[in-house]
């Protein structure tokens, strides 16, 4: 599988994502500079975390106009997997590839810590090898991860089961205390209506190696790999 990890000016989890992906056999992860305009030949695209354009103005607001974003949109429209992590999620929202937006954490401070996510739905290319209700230990690191969407959009997200992961406590309960940033419905990550675009605030690439304290991030990448393989087989 060939994966493009987009490097925006100010991306800083690009090589982390590349390394995490490369730890899966058969995955080729390449860094693609944001001034490129084509993404043909890639099975999946990752928009990594970081502070694209310094996150000045609003997170992701400038990156969404980068030359590469046209190609990301085309790829997303044609069903290619697009994963946005942290700043990548913010960019996808700003670009309208995912609904809603990410506001400043309600506690106003940047938060970097390990916490738990509950898998809400496994009918998506990003969660297919996980099981519903599974609790994942995955860290966050953001100052603006407070997911917000208008009531109509929230209804649709629920109705279409687009909410893939929510913040929860260690036993999998979605509680107020488990919510690190004020996200509506404890939302940590959502997918698009077509289910091939996924954005989440937590960093799965940081928990892909036991020495870094866990491997719960691997399930998300593994799902993408298996989905791609079965998709290729069908083709």
């Amino acid at each position: 599988m060939r994966v493009a990890v987009i490097q925006f000016p100010g991306s800083n989890c690009d090589t982390d994502c590349q390394a995490a992906l490369a730890s899966f056999p058969g995955v080729m992860a390449e860094i693609v500079w944001h001034k490129e305009t084509s993404l043909t030949g890639y099975d999946a695209i990752v928009l990594p975390g970081g502070f694209s354009y310094g996150d000045y103005l609003r997170c992701g607001s400038i990156a969404r106009f980068s030359p590469i974003m046209g190609a990301v949109r085309t790829a997303a429209d044609s069903g290619v997997l697009v994963l946005g992590i942290c700043n990548g999620f913010q960019i996808l929202c700003e670009a309208g590839l995912l609904p809603g937006t990410l506001l400043r954490n309600n506690g106003l401070l940047f938060r970097c810590e390990n916490l738990q996510l509950r898998v809400e739905n496994t009918d998506a290319p990003f969660t297919s090898v996980l099981h519903e209700g599974q609790v994942l230990d995955i860290p966050i690191a953001h100052g603006e991860g407070n997911y917000f969407a208008d009531p109509e959009t929230m209804k649709q997200l629920e109705a279409n089961a687009q909410i893939l992961v929510r913040y929860c406590d260690a036993s999998g309960n979605v509680t107020l205390e488990a919510n690190p940033n004020g996200s509506l419905g404890n939302i940590a990550g959502i997918c698009s209506h077509g289910r091939n675009v996924f954005g989440l605030m937590p960093h799965p690439e940081r928990v892909c190696d036991p020495i870094l304290g866990g491997t719960d991030g691997r399930g998300i990448f593994q799902s993408m790999i298996e989905w791609t393989a079965s998709h290729d087989a069908k083709k």
Partner: protein, 741 residues
């Protein structure tokens, strides 16, 4: 605009003494221009010239088989870590800028130290921070100010480090009245590089073009270097518009562009523009290269209109570098900097006449021998006041506090309480290498590209240094090494930040001298070189000088991931052993300070030989895979260390110290040096004990890790028991509730 006339007042305003001005006259053989006066002023400030401290700094041990670049040679020292890989690291202060504007002051401090590291050709991989503030407790105006400074500094470090994508993996924060009005903000950065990638800050090759790359020059931090070398007074508020604003986004681009450029072999020399900006970088590169440099101010990319040559020369705008390019390779520079959307300009050339020459178009405004500026500045041997070591504390004068109450009070002292509120604001995981997160002894970082495991810690107990600077400095080094040993690491190098008051006052100068002495002794004892550091003097507020604070940062190496050890207990039934001897001293302890409000006595004794034997013995059993957890006793003594080892686990501990013949408060809270609490599985206990015995270190079995989540300590006939959860709540909630109220 016409330049002002050089008058005695103007000279004094530039911080030059009449004798120093005489020296300027004799170097030039004429009166300096206004620009030249500015240039001498910043280059001969303490910050750039170390005129008051250099003779002392020469006492540091700086050599060793692993030293690739020595302290003082370049922007940062470089140490071999094997297989062709090396590390460059250094600590730097931004105390005064942070006092004036905490957020930007701290942020630009981080930016500056990162530039020092990538200037060496190294890719920065992690940061640490060492912070000191006045008390943040209570409703006084001063406490409010201290809270504002603390919040601003932490947010500034977070802003810069998080945005540029470097994890801040360790640090320290202390609160003490002596820092009210003069906080300390020391930032550390470590980078990794191949031996052959070491870049030099020398202007090599006569005729080579000199490039300016990075952010445009504005009127930022005018003459900040001179500012850092003065005491903070009401008047320094007038310097306020001169605050520098950091742009971590620009620096991220600059970092990537410079590393890409350095990989091309077209660079003859590279130097960051830190304090004293363009001035410092041009004359230092020329001086190191034994050449001259000529630049034209008009070619410098500028942010503001109508800046004078003086302003451009002395501006401290951030995120800029000077690059000496091999002739004929100019296009490579252009390509790379255009790719990264960064300004660049060819502003001059390397010459053979040893002069730093600055033109403003056709007019020469500065023409000074580079060497005189960079290396032949004034040097002073200041007077040190005689010092009598303090008498040991008279224990009888200290009423015994109830340990049941004293332990929670100690855990609630902001200097001891959890710093999670701080490091949760720092991305401490980016670059996916942090194997031991902040909150344990030393942090551990895996450098993926080099397949090496590094550990790092930063420490200084300034109470000890205040009471006895020599002993305090020794202890700072030993504590760093001890923290490394607890993580399973062997020290490979030290960088230090000497934070002191005005060196013209003999008692302050004694502190500086004694601290250098103590650090040197420590580094010799542990056989680690000092690879560089920073001196920050004039840390005074109207209330007086800060407690002497020689911050030590130590880097260590771990050979095998299996040796990684943390401070938290791991399993019920594990056997707890205390390595090292407990004395009877309470002098300089946090117990004495927090419970009795006294900062006095003699600090604890440190025996280097015993300390080293303990580290070796500990590493021996760690490497044999026999140790489940290891944690040293520092502020708050044994009781605090035991509580911390319970935190974050579901366990408690049942401890019996037996009949010690001492007061319970001494048993629990004394800060005898060289003590480490380890836990081992029951089946390994006898093996560990015989290993420790054969190493000749003292140790005692003191108890067991329990499933009952209580910490229970028996001494003599008294039993003290605390629910771990209560202790942990106190420990965790203190700082958040002070800060968020």
């Amino acid at each position: 605009m016409a330049n002002p006339k050089i008058t005695p007042e103007l000279i004094a305003k530039h911080g030059l003494s009449p004798e120093e001005y005489e020296k300027v006259l004799s170097i030039l053989g004429r009166e300096p221009s206004f620009e030249e006066l500015g240039v001498f002023s910043v280059m001969w400030s303490e910050h750039c010239s170390y005129k008051n401290s250099r003779p002392e700094l020469r006492k540091f041990p700086t050599t060793g088989p692993s030293v690739l670049v020595k302290a003082g040679e370049e922007n940062a020292g470089v140490i071999d870590i094997g297989d062709g890989w090396a590390v460059a690291f250094k600590i730097e202060s931004h105390n005064h800028p942070s006092a004036v504007e905490p957020f930007q002051g701290a942020a630009t401090g981080v930016g500056g130290i990162i530039r020092d590291i990538f200037t060496m050709g190294a890719r920065p991989v992690f940061l640490m921070d060492s912070l000191r503030f006045g008390s943040i407790e209570g409703d006084s105006k001063q406490a409010k100010t201290n809270r504002r400074l603390f919040a601003g500094v932490v947010a500034g470090i977070a802003h810069y480090g998080n945005c540029i994508g470097l994890p801040t993996i360790a640090g320290e924060v202390y609160f003490d009245e002596s820092y009210s009005g003069n906080p300390l903000v020391n930032a550390f950065c470590l980078g990794i590089l191949r031996h052959e990638q070491i870049a030099r800050g020398a202007a090599e090759g006569v005729g080579n073009p000199v490039f300016y790359v990075g952010a445009e020059t504005g009127r930022d931090g005018l003459a900040g270097a001179a500012f850092a070398s003065r005491e903070l007074t009401e008047e320094s508020k007038a310097d306020r518009p001169a605050v520098q604003v950091g742009d971590p986004f620009r620096e991220k681009l600059l970092l990537e562009a410079c590393l890409e450029l350095l990989a091309t072999d077209c660079v003859a020399g590279i130097q960051d523009m830190g304090a004293a900006g363009l001035t410092c970088s041009t004359c230092e590169t020329a001086s190191r290269g034994g050449t001259g440099v000529e630049i034209d101010i008009q070619l410098v990319p500028q942010r503001a209109k109508g800046q004078t040559p003086y302003e451009v020369l002395l501006s401290e705008s951030q995120e800029r570098m000077l690059v000496i390019v091999k002739k004929g390779q100019e296009d490579t520079v252009k390509q790379i900097f255009e790719k990264w959307d960064l300004p660049y300009a060819e502003i001059g050339v390397v010459t053979d006449d040893g002069q730093m020459r600055v033109r403003n178009g056709d007019e020469v405004v500065v023409d000074v021998p580079a060497r005189a500026l960079a290396d032949d500045g004034p040097l002073y041997s200041r007077e040190a006041a005689p010092f009598t070591p303090p008498a040991p504390l008279d224990l009888a004068s200290v009423p015994q506090a109830d340990p049941l109450k004293a332990l929670p009070s100690l855990l609630a002292h902001p200097s001891i309480a959890s710093k999670r509120w701080v490091w949760r604001q720092y991305d401490h995981m980016v670059r996916t290498g942090t194997a031991v997160l902040p909150g344990s002894d030393a942090a551990v970082f895996i450098v993926r590209e080099a397949n090496k495991i590094l550990a790092a810690s930063t420490d200084c107990n300034a109470i000890y240094c205040k009471l006895d600077p020599l002993v305090g400095a020794r202890i700072a080094v030993a504590e760093c090494a001890r923290n490394l040993a607890c993580s399973g690491a062997v020290p490979i190098g030290v960088t230090d930040n000497l934070n002191f008051g005005n060196p013209h006052k003999p008692e302050n100068f004694y502190q500086l001298r004694a601290a250098v002495e103590g650090i040197s002794e420590g580094c010799r004892a542990f056989n680690v070189p000092v690879t560089g550091g920073n001196v920050s003097l004039y840390n005074e507020s109207p209330a007086g000088a800060i407690d002497p604070t020689p911050t030590i940062s130590m880097v260590g190496r771990i050979d095998d991931a299996a040796h990684l050890t943390t401070q938290a207990f791991k399993g019920q039934g594990d056997q707890i052993i205390l390595i090292g001897e407990t004395g009877s001293e309470l002098g300089g302890s946090h117990y004495l300070l927090a419970i009795h409000g006294r900062k006095e006595g003699a600090p604890p004794v440190l025996h280097f030989e015993k300390e080293i034997a303990i580290h070796h013995a500990l590493l021996g059993v760690i490497r044999k895979g026999l140790v489940c957890s290891a944690h040293d006793c520092s502020e708050g003594g044994l009781a605090v260390a035991l509580a911390e080892s319970c935190f974050g686990t579901e366990f408690g501990a049942s401890i019996d110290l037996g009949e010690t013949g001492q007061r319970a408060d001494v048993d629990l809270f004394n800060e005898s040096q060289g003590r480490i609490v380890i836990s081992v599985s029951p089946s390994n206990r006898s093996l560990v004990e015989s290993e420790l015995k054969s190493s000749g270190v003292s140790f005692r079995f003191i108890g067991t890790v329990t499933a009952v989540p209580d910490l229970s300590i028996t001494t003599g006939a008294s039993v003290y028991t605390w629910p771990v959860r209560d202790l942990n709540d106190t420990f965790e909630k203190t700082i958040p509730s002070l800060m968020e109220g």
